[in-house]
Symmetry: C3
């Protein structure tokens, strides 16, 4: 399994700089800065204005406090695998050697290709802002994906409308203009090979069927930079989200729903380490959406680990709900194992979208997938082979489906004639 190719349907990779050319780009991943900060490191030790070397050395002073974590194990795997780092630990004493070994500033894109090949990557999905020009890379390798958070959650801000006008070429003045502009974005993204639309939604958001009539006035007020009442903001969020879902239906694009995060719960945290959640959330709030858009595949990730069992039930009943990966605070083997066991036991195997890395740099993809593949192998060995008498081949078939065949099929790209949301 460790030698299989990797199909990664959700990352934050920058296609212009996919691999890390300095180890600070690895250490700067919020998992390390936030955990070190949580363990006592002042946030300014990793301030953006510092020299990369300084920042890396500063962080290294705190790594012994978090070296028992699974997140740290990805780091060590990167150091050992990609940089032939021979020590057991990354410490203030060994960081210098590691920085040297991991310095690929001279290698440019050759290093990107090396990491790609060594990781056996097949496809890496991006997360592109709606006004990303989408130029300058091979979109069959680095697959565009339309991130729509701003269009829903920040549409009431004048800046968003401006960006939308610029990106779409539509002079948005009202809801009709908004629709036209969003349509133009979809055309552009599809034209550049986009294979998913994605959004992360806070726990207090409950999609409702948009009534353009009701949204007209708040939308116009927003577009013209006027103040909005809370209910008007809510109306805009709902109308914008519903409109996006309509275009996903029209263009047959899967709509990744990442449910749960609340932004900036801890404003003084390090960059990327400020968001949390409220666990009181239910997919029941999404029933109208799932009922209305039968033909749209909704790959769903939930953030609160204790909400995982509910996703199993919703994916069990709704053809268009597909459980996808193990996200962020739930991306810990203890949670993955429990959740994966239930998904494998209770859900159609053709609907399981095993894993995505959520990575910012290519180097993280393999270690994260390796972690998942170990959990998957363990669960299959214990539950399926030992517990239910499957052959090893049977177990491997399911693993291949979960890791490769399902994501390839569900995210096959537009124009496919699928008879069901799972793309079968």
């Amino acid at each position: 399994m460790a030698r299989w190719p990797i199909f990664d349907p959700h990352t934050h990779i920058d296609p212009h700089r996919p691999a890390a050319r300095h180890f600070d780009e690895v250490l700067g991943y919020h998992y390390y800065t936030e955990l070190a900060h949580s363990a006592g490191m002042p946030a300014d030790r990793v301030a953006p204005e510092l020299e990369p070397d300084t920042r890396a050395r500063n962080l290294a002073e705190y790594l012994d406090r978090i070296d028992s974590t699974v997140q740290y194990s990805w780091l060590l795997e990167i150091a050992r695998t990609f940089h032939r780092f021979a020590h057991d630990r990354i410490t203030p004493r060994t960081i210098g050697e590691l920085l040297e070994r991991a310095d690929h500033r001279q290698d440019g894109e050759a290093w990107d290709r090396e990491v790609w090949a060594a990781s056996r990557l097949e496809a890496v999905f991006l997360t592109n802002e709606f006004d990303d020009p989408l130029e300058g890379w091979d979109t069959s390798a680095y697959v565009p994906c339309l991130r729509t958070d701003d269009l829903v959650l920040k549409l009431h801000e004048p800046r968003t409308i401006e960006r939308l006008r610029a990106a779409s070429g539509v002079d948005v003045q009202d809801y009709a203009g908004l629709r036209k502009a969003i349509g133009a974005l979809f055309e552009k993204f599809l034209g550049r090979g986009a294979r998913a639309c994605a959004i992360s939604l806070p726990p207090d958001f409950a999609p409702r069927r948009a009534t353009p009539r009701r949204a007209v006035t708040p939308m116009r007020k927003a577009i013209h930079g006027m103040d909005l009442r809370p209910d008007e903001r809510e109306e805009i969020r709902c109308a914008a989200f519903w409109t996006l879902a309509e275009f996903c239906a029209e263009f047959r694009l899967p709509f990744d729903l990442m449910i749960g995060p609340i932004r900036n719960v801890y404003p003084d945290g390090v960059a990327g380490g400020r968001d949390l959640f409220d666990r009181r959330v239910s997919l029941h709030d999404y029933r109208e959406l799932f009922n209305h858009f039968r033909e749209v595949a909704f790959p769903v990730s939930t953030l609160s680990p204790d909400a995982a069992a509910e996703l199993v039930a919703y994916a069990w009943i709704f053809p268009n709900v597909l459980p996808m990966g193990h996200w962020w605070y739930a991306n810990v083997p203890a949670f993955i194992a429990q959740d994966l066991r239930a998904r494998l036991q209770a859900l159609p195997k053709v609907k399981l979208l095993g894993y995505y890395s959520d990575a910012y740099k290519l180097e993280f993809i393999a270690p994260k997938f390796n972690m998942y593949r170990r959990v998957l192998a363990d669960v299959l060995a214990e539950d399926a082979i030992r517990g239910r008498g499957w052959s090893i081949d049977q177990a491997l078939d399911v693993a291949r489906m979960v890791l490769l065949e399902n994501p390839r099929r569900v995210f096959a790209g537009s124009g496919r004639a699928a008879s069901s949301p799972a793309g079968i």
Copy 2:
């Protein structure tokens, strides 16, 4: 353990047709139709108006998509055990043979008896609508159980009042009449050997002590088919539910509470595959009920798997709360194992009501109980024998209590003089 008799305290078996005479009755179980539908099968492939053979063949085309599930494993166990089906998988190629082997239309009740004996069944509880005539079967084997969902959740519909009048012989015109009618139902059910009252309740229901005074007007409006405000409907639900609990106290009948389902969340699903839940539910809403009816045993099942730990705590404190089985979306080994481990570690062994099949056809009882017994054996082997040094006999004693002795005692039938809700 696999050779022990089975005492099944909750099923939906039809006592007039307990076993499946055609394999379509097995394949038509909503677990298969809903999972196949969820995996891409159009609902009309299993429409009720189709020929049984056609429906079964249609479904067989989709079984490879769900053959990794534990639900499918029950199906295969039925095919192999009851019908000597020798293949590894049920496919469009092998379904014909299976349909033939499983055709017992000529055998009539002999087949019911054969399945009963082969499964070592001891007692199978039914779920009888309140107007079930309760005639025509051996009620010591197929034990009547008064299902009260309609009396609580649909009492505001004129049709329910009509059915109640017909079933009770009481000309219900007001709350006093309702009481009398319900009393008559209890008399009838008890007279026919009923050993439990049962209800499934939505997450937004919170029982409150009924104040007949407050319920009088809404009840009268409902009885006379007048429109009701939401608060009046709520009043009726509460009053009807509380009245049922009062009769359970009077007649010393356990009241099975099945907490969580929301009906028809996915209206276009297959029959039986439309209900889901909202995980935001708490047993704290039931405190007044549990406090008030000290003498009533409440075997409780909760639907959302993540609510399981709360049930452990409530059963730990309230003498009349008994954790019962692992229900529907929680009836998956991954959830059962975690939950069962906690129940066994933290609760009085005399209160655990291990399992029920919830089956519609006799054939399902043994495979489902086998699944549970395997989990129980695993948990006892790991936690109790390996972890805490118990002897095998000690572990088996607890297993016997959980599977047989407790349900037999708690559901012993009326007239027993129990000193506590657990019937000890």
Copy 3:
């Protein structure tokens, strides 16, 4: 590990009578009385007015109903370890012998010292009411801890104000007086070696930044025994709690938050066995507190086992949130194992406050810690040594940190110059 000293940062030990001089004081622990009651024992069989021998013998009649629980295993370990009880079970037949063996009424404090030494205790934190005179014991062994439940949750009762005046020597007449009085309590507690402030909070409590202005009137009304509206009561809870946090900041005292219990949910239960919870609770309600008091360490315990994963996420982000122990209804190996696995995998090892006994009598500390240490050893062996290739020494280092080094450092006592809430 079983031979390591024990640092127990939260108990309800009475320092004047720490060990049990009669076995009734062990059997009277609410875990046994409430489980026996839950299993059918009438509450009056263990009424306080009975003779200790009678009460113990009464309870012994019901122990066979709960002898499969982990709580019972602590009891048996006490009987065997401290009293050389040679039987397998505590029954009506063997209870007499046990009562005799466990009778230490003649030994006085020598018995306390014997249990202390046999258990290898290093420090045992108390839970002192704010008006505890704190006199008459060695506070380096039995460490004072200021319990503030009454100051927050019962400040609206005249009795509390009276106690506060008496304890602080301040003639509290308004909010300024309250502040002064609380300051005096902190001075006194710190002077007597207190090393933590603690409170248990109901699920409906959400801390808000106190605005003394808003609290002035309700506080004055409360102090003068006038009736309060619900919102005024809430204002008082918030103001009192926030004031306590301010003093924790000023005096650099960790503030243990024990989140979840609802008192007296089952009023007719046995003493100590009446409280439960509502699982719908989120740490998101505590965000303002965690953001505001950066320098205060908040060791957090949550009561509902299914809320455990959220605590992992909050401790992962907030430097001042430290996950502490496994509390009450969550103190069951099935829940501990799942939770501990996640904490060890995802959190900085320096922040984990492994366990506390919550014991009322010294004898319980070792059996409870032994239970936890077994789970910890199992999780480390499985996850870290087998799963991630750690050496045994690496695993033991983490165990030592979790059990000893972290609690010693975080609860080091006032005056320490900590650079972070975790005290590093």
